[in-house]
Symmetry: C2
Subunit: 431 residues, 2 copies
């Protein structure tokens, strides 16, 4: 963990270094992934089975390729009532939030008599990748699948690896809650390739979303254009902007909630109170000592954590914009005033009673968010990622007479005479 103070002489250089630090895996898996993707595209299920046997150590023909709906329902029914209720609360709230994202169609007729507008439709099929192993999160399934369902996709496909044949019942339960149509026991680059190109068993989809390791991320990048994808995700991060009136224990827990995800995650505290900075740092140490995930969280905090002292919280906002973090907490009395000054963040958590973890599960907004400074240009996952827009245009003779001559002039200037002719013929001028 580093400590910075905007008044230090070397602050600018050290903050630049913090902004530019790359935490993403440098492993070049491009070629390996290309081989896997090509194999699955060309050989279909046989390649899927072979890669699964090699990488996940089970034989799909023996363990089964799919988990059926009854098994997902049974997994849900077998949960503790408290957990069942929590999953349902999460799904209900995520659905409600995303229903407000459904885009409006538009249609209008302008002064020239041109009727024009845009129409949104859902893609036919969406594929959601849910990681296996440590990061097999049912919440991730809900956050990816529910926006697809709200968009109105006809077919919702879940793929999830089951290493050594072991199925995570929480993921199945979430698939039941999200009403997934198919659940396939495949993972890695081979699963992404199967979704993009289809195999004998698995029909191809139109959009692939969901987090994964370096192989999954590279596979998504390689099939981008064959299908739509969500943003390629990197390590997670949180920025907490907090004044001295906060409870240092609360803020320390927030910093650690990000750190415990992975050793590459980043937690940064901005505060205008040096004593609070000390207290928060001490609280982090104290909490780490009893945290079951302390090995991961300690490495992330020590390697990537930072506390930045600023003259006022408002001074922090341009610095936060440079980081363009995935999550930002604004823990102060007037968080809206700070939020109004902020331009780049994936998701903002306002006030002292809004820990980021609430947004990970049940609040409603999506937890699939741009990382690695991509909030400068990217948005969290949403309903429109599973939809597309068709623009439309309708002219009558009068409208064409009004717009036609300018079209002909531009088409001719661009050296496209057939374009000009298609208009000129209709204007009944002889060209």
């Amino acid at each position: 963990m580093i400590r910075l103070d905007t008044r230090d002489a070397d602050f600018a250089a050290r903050f630049d270094a913090l902004v530019d630090a790359r935490r993403e895996s440098a492993a070049d898996v491009t070629r390996d992934v290309a081989t896997i993707v090509r194999s699955v595209r060309d050989e279909g299920d046989a390649a899927l089975r072979a890669f699964t046997r090699k990488l996940d150590r089970h034989d799909l023909d023996e363990t089964g390729w799919r988990v059926d709906a009854a098994a997902c329902a049974a997994a849900f029914d077998a949960l503790e009532p408290e957990l069942r209720a929590a999953l349902e609360l999460a799904a209900t709230r995520i659905r409600a939030y995303h229903e407000k994202q459904r885009p409006q169609d538009s249609a209008f007729t302008d002064a020239a008599g041109v009727r024009l507008g845009a129409r949104w439709r859902a893609v036919e099929a969406a594929g959601v990748y849910v990681p296996g192993g440590r990061a097999a999160y049912p919440s991730t399934l809900l956050m990816n699948a529910i926006p697809a369902r709200v968009a109105g996709v006809d077919r919702l496909v879940v793929v999830t690896p089951t290493p050594d044949g072991a199925i995570n019942p929480l993921v199945l339960a979430a698939a039941h809650v999200a009403r997934a149509d198919e659940v396939w026991r495949i993972g890695g680059a081979q699963a992404i390739a199967a979704l993009a190109y289809g195999t004998e068993r698995i029909a191809r989809v139109d959009v692939v979303t969901g987090p994964g390791n370096a192989w999954v991320a590279e596979a998504k990048r390689q099939v981008y254009g064959v299908v739509g994808i969500d943003m390629v995700a990197g390590p997670s991060e949180i920025v907490v902007v907090a004044d001295g009136a906060n409870d240092a224990e609360w803020i320390a827990a927030d910093l650690l909630s990000q750190a415990e995800h992975d050793t590459t995650t980043q937690s940064i505290l901005f505060t205008d109170d040096a004593a609070f900075a000390d207290a928060a740092a001490a609280a982090v140490e104290r909490q780490l000592s009893t945290l079951p995930t302390q090995a991961v969280a300690r490495a992330a905090w020590e390697d990537n954590g930072a506390i930045v002292l600023v003259p006022t919280l408002a001074d922090a906002m341009p610095l936060v914009d440079r980081l363009a973090p995935e999550h930002v907490e604004l823990a102060c009395d007037d968080p809206q005033a700070l939020f109004d000054r902020l331009r780049h963040a994936g998701s903002a958590f306002l006030g002292r009673h809004t820990p980021e973890a609430i947004g990970d599960y049940v609040a409603g907004p999506n937890h699939v968010l741009p990382t690695g400074r991509r909030a400068r240009f990217a948005s969290g996952l949403g309903v429109i990622d599973f939809m597309k827009r068709t623009s439309f245009l309708q002219l009558d003779e009068t409208a064409l007479a009004e717009l036609g001559p300018a079209t002909i002039a531009l088409a001719e200037a661009e050296g496209l005479p057939a374009h000009a002719r298609s208009v000129a013929l209709r204007l009944r001028t002889n060209r």
Copy 2:
């Protein structure tokens, strides 16, 4: 050109072949582009100058790196009045259409007392690529730059190659009309790398859009994630759905307006009238013979063109959906009825008086559209491509008491104790 009839025994197989035909360049430029991108990232302007000298055959230090605003204004002033007016009409209408695309912020408080919503902001800087040479279209500059301006970007950068040092005055005039802030005389993969990573002279941008050759497309793919990009574009295509009451000459001109772009473009006519199919084919031949762009248009039509006979126009719509074309014209008396049956298309042109060319220039909707069946999942370029959404959330103590327990249950089930703790501490339960 092939002719198909849905009643033919081999129709399904032949239509499948039409759908699956790849018209995109198979040239693998991945490694060459990676070398260029790395050089520009590491060596900046020196690499830009070297690549431009080699590939565009002029020395930027001698010919100049930038075109200033005065030169763009002068290029505009020097145009024929008719062309000047046409560019201004186009810009005005494109702006008006895209202003309606500006997304609405949302904020609401739900029954649990949670305040939540989403806020849209423009990216800081956008870079627009405008090809040089044959495809140096001022309309492309307007279609990319105006949505960025409407989104509210602070800085709008145009890059365009000037092979052998020759500047296209129409592009400069369009840069003036679109109020570009900077115009740089660079192209190819090196220009995309400069926009993504920045150089000594050129500050990096956040989003890069615009068409280009295989090198430009691959460079965009390689910098995707460092910056946002628009969809990687392939060869253009048009589907015309027309009944026998159309003027065959009009429809032939529409088919050729797509064919003249490039030998890889595709024009397909669906009709329910065999005699009209013959008349349209004959009209295409007749028009080709006098078309200045006939070499290109003839190759495209002969290699990729098709006429498909269907029992009724309604029967064509599922077939059109399989093609998911960039452009579709619905030339009949009740085009809306057909449009209602259509799901996948980049842009639709309704009725007999709406040739696609109108949409290329002055109608208002964007002409940067998904190609190669990507309309299944992708949309045309729009204002939101230059904006991003920040979701936000604010809970008070009461709301946290309502949502907290479910969050704790899910966090513990996922093995994330610091997540649970960040909520539990605030609920003042001792965990």
